[in-house]
């Protein structure tokens, strides 16, 4: 990579002037002060972790650095010069590149076009040969296992991330921002990513690494910056900090990460699934679920857990298999039928798959159980209000009024409303798909506590999770899936982290 002259000179001379420096940066939106007086430096060859709860201002900083927003006050200095970014183009030109959480790319175009969109090589006409050649070079550098001419839609999520990295490198970026890049990656893919990060470090890039996962932060970061409510509340070297320190800075108070497992009397079998199969996604899924039990579903990303759960919920029809609810055989033909039978599924992406942002809180909460609010022919507003109040209070939703549009609420509150919608159905079985994905430390503990509460009330809980500590902390038993099949089922007390992970990666297979 051709490092910009200024940086390489600094590097050689051993100067410690930072590649990127923010001073006094503030940004407000109507009614919200997103950032106030932010100041930090990014050094060449270092990974700086940016941590903070959801809503602390991390994504606003990213948007300012990538030229989507302009700061109301403050200065951005890159490579010694003060910069103003009127658009993402200017940010690219200054050497700042970003890899976003959801890959923001063009599925219908090739890898090479994705890498070079916005700055394709050539004169008046695009030089496609040159584009392909340089694209292949970049892919080789990060040891990608696919070709520059491949259509993007054929790649996996991890491979798409690699294309984004190649894109960042194509801009000869000196600052690379990674926003929750490991969210959808498996262990080996995360290792690959970190190998590339190490490579970028050695080439003099400064990396801003945003993540909620402390194990990754401690593994890869050299220093950290902590945000809370739009302000910087701490920074320093990772080597000098402990996890508890970081959590305290993020949240402002000490927090128990995981609530102790509640002692719950597990009741009779509620759900029995036998041999559920689909031609391409999963096969021979069999398990049983009892009242008050939390059944974990662990596996690598893409193991088929969500697909099997969605099939159980009626989103798709299995080719084989039988389901029994409270001993009675049942055929679930649609989500509506599942809900009527008392089975609920809370999707992984609660915002896109669960929230109706233009509708009010009340309309959201009552939606899945709307039939219960019908008096005669029409809906009863008072019945809806009552249910909304009850569930909204139970989940501690913060809003100005129940008629407020869901889109105006914070992300965390939106998630609560989505969960409230499902509780309103009074389910017997609740399937939670990655319930703490994207949720910060402060709220995670509350969600875990809440899951325990659900089990205590007698719900049967299916907990799909890719976070081992979560499973180990909450579940009574865990079903481990690998490539569409159940590898093993473990019971609490007779499991170990190593055994579970081996089963998930396919190392062992016990009937």
């Amino acid at each position: 990579m051709r490092v910009t002259l200024a940086t390489s000179a600094n590097f050689i001379a051993g100067e410690t002037s930072p590649i990127l420096s923010l001073t006094g940066v503030s940004k407000s939106f109507p009614g919200v002060r997103a950032l106030h007086d932010i100041a930090f430096n990014l050094e060449a060859g270092e990974v700086t972790a940016l941590i903070g709860e959801n809503g602390a201002g991390k994504s606003t900083i990213v948007k300012i650095l990538t030229g989507i927003y302009a700061p109301d006050q403050g200065e951005i200095v890159v490579g010694g010069a003060v910069r103003h970014f009127a658009s993402p183009r200017d940010s690219w030109a200054a050497g700042i590149a970003a890899i976003h959480q959801e890959t923001v790319m063009f599925d219908e175009l090739t890898v090479a076009e994705n890498i070079f969109m916005g700055h394709m090589p050539g004169g008046r006409f695009i030089n496609r040969g040159e584009m392909r050649r340089r694209g292949s070079q970049l892919l080789e550098r990060i040891e990608a296992d696919f070709d520059a001419t491949a259509p993007l839609k054929q790649l996996s999520v991890a491979q798409k991330h690699m294309v984004e990295i190649a894109r960042a490198l194509s801009h000869e970026a000196s600052v690379i921002i990674m926003d929750e890049p490991t969210a959808a990656l498996s262990r080996t893919e995360i290792d690959d990513l970190f190998r590339i990060v190490a490579q970028l470090k050695s080439q003099g890039c400064a990396i801003l690494f945003i993540s909620h996962k402390f194990d990754e932060i401690f593994r890869i970061a050299d220093s950290y910056i902590c945000l809370r409510d739009g302000e910087m509340v701490g920074s320093g070297l990772i080597a000098d900090a402990s996890e508890a320190d970081l959590v305290r800075q993020m949240v402002g108070r000490p927090i128990d990460q995981v609530f102790p497992k509640r002692d719950i009397a597990i009741g009779e079998t509620v759900l029995e699934v036998e041999g559920l199969s689909n031609p391409t996604e999963f096969a021979d899924i069999s398990f049983s679920l009892r009242r008050g039990e939390i059944l974990g579903f662990y596996g690598l990303v893409g193991a088929g857990r969500s697909e099997a759960a969605q099939c159980l919920f009626g989103m798709s029809r299995p080719t084989r298999g039988a389901v029994r609810l409270n001993g009675e055989p049942i055929v679930i033909e649609s989500p509506g039928a599942a809900i009527a039978a008392g089975i609920c599924y809370v999707p992984e992406d609660r915002q896109h798959q669960g929230a109706f942002l233009p509708m009010s809180i009340r309309e959201n909460i009552t939606l899945a159980s709307i039939a219960s609010h019908v008096k005669g022919v029409f809906l009863s507003r008072s019945s809806e209000r009552e249910a909304t109040r009850e569930l909204g209070r139970r989940l501690d939703v913060r809003a100005a009024s129940w008629e407020q549009t869901l889109g105006e609420l914070s992300g965390g509150n939106q998630q609560k409303v989505v969960i409230a919608k499902w509780l309103a159905v009074r389910p017997k079985v609740i399937i939670l798909d990655e319930p703490t994905k994207g949720i910060d430390v402060g709220s995670k503990a509350a969600v875990h506590d809440f899951i325990g509460e659900l089990a205590e009330e007698g719900l049967a809980v299916m907990l799909i999770s890719s976070e081992l500590p979560e499973i180990l902390g909450l579940a009574d038993r865990v079903v481990v899936m690998h490539e569409g099949r159940i590898a093993t089922t473990f019971s609490r007390g007779a499991w170990s982290a190593e055994a579970i992970v081996s089963a998930a990666t396919g190392a062992e297979r016990r009937a």
Partner: protein, 330 residues
């Protein structure tokens, strides 16, 4: 680029070839050089309009006002000829293009500048442009005898058996292909339609791209306005009525996705050719022209269903045996 894309255009090309061959068996006059020339000449205007509409559809938009634009531009160009019949033909052509461009600017300004959905804007301008013809001309029409020879002769000039319309359409098609495949602005249209957010992050100026799309659509409509009016020798408010749907149909048949970001010049041209062959074949097969609409409709529906089958992805491939068999199929 994927074999799949080649597949679609190849398939369409083969279907057209099969149709032509089939009809040729029934009526050999159909595949005579003269008739092929007629088909190409008659479809040239559609070729051009389809290319312009394709760019608009690439951006996830739609332009329902193209036929009205064509009619108004043609009318103004014709009335210029009516009052000044001895100007060089380039003056009439330029007038048509200029009027079309101005109308396209109106569309583009509202869509790109104010942010109104394209279907709403072009629904409105569809009525406005056509109505302006009556406002402008008071409901009268311009006949062949009033247009002058210079105006009318040009489209009918024949070189190598093909009319001037074709010789305008052909280089235009090549220019579009080069533009869309080998210039940054051209590729930007695909990016914009494929993922508007990512396009923004890449620094693409979305407003400018959208404006350009509707300007191109307007200018091409204006050009075709002159050609249409000059070729058919009459200009009045109802010419090309409903033609915008034919144009969109041709795009769909040609594989341009209404969701944006997908479409090729060869595909669009084949879609237009398909409809052009049908229109030409009906009288040859002694089928009354009354069948044309029904056949078009059936063909559009077939094309949409086929396109959807092609685009549809099956369930995710998680089970190893499923991946293996899919891998073998590739």
């Amino acid at each position: 680029m994927s074999l799949l894309l080649r597949h679609r255009e190849l398939a369409l090309g083969l279907i057209i070839a099969a149709m032509v061959a089939g009809i040729g068996l029934y009526a050999p006059a159909f595949i005579s050089a003269a008739n092929i020339a007629t088909v190409l000449n008659d479809t040239s205007i559609l070729f051009m309009l389809v290319l312009a509409q394709m760019i608009v559809i690439l951006t996830r938009g739609i332009d329902l006002s193209v036929a009205a634009n064509l009619a108004l531009s043609g009318m103004i160009s014709a009335s210029l000829a009516q009052h000044f019949p001895h100007l060089p033909v380039i003056a009439y052509i330029a007038t048509g293009v200029a009027v079309g461009l101005a109308l396209g600017l109106f569309n583009g300004g509202l869509i790109a500048g104010v942010g109104i959905p394209p279907i709403v804007v072009t629904l409105g301008t569809l009525a406005i442009f056509r109505g302006l013809i009556v406002v402008y001309g008071g409901g009268s029409q311009v006949n062949a005898s009033e247009m002058g020879d210079v105006f009318q002769n040009f489209p009918n000039l024949t070189v190598l058996g093909l009319d001037a319309v074709f010789w305008i359409a052909a280089p235009l098609a090549i220019a579009f292909a080069l533009f869309l495949n080998f210039t940054r602005t051209g590729r930007n249209f695909y990016a914009l339609g494929g993922n508007p957010l990512a396009a923004r992050y890449c620094g693409i100026n979305i407003g400018r791209q959208l404006l350009l799309a509707y300007l191109v659509s307007g200018a091409v409509s204006g050009l075709c306005g002159y050609l249409w009016v000059a070729r058919y020798g009459v200009a009045y408010s109802e010419i090309a009525s409903g033609y915008e749907l034919t144009v969109i149909a041709a795009c769909v048949i040609g594989g341009v996705s209404i969701a944006g970001g997908v479409g090729t010049v060869p595909g669009a041209l084949l879609g237009a050719l398909f409809l052009g062959v049908i229109v030409n074949a009906l009288p040859v097969m002694q089928v009354t022209p009354f069948w044309q609409m029904a056949i078009s409709g059936a063909v559009i529906l077939a094309a949409v269903v086929v396109n959807a089958r092609v685009e549809r992805r099956g369930g995710k491939l998680i089970l190893p045996e499923a991946r293996r068999s899919a891998g073998a199929a590739k």
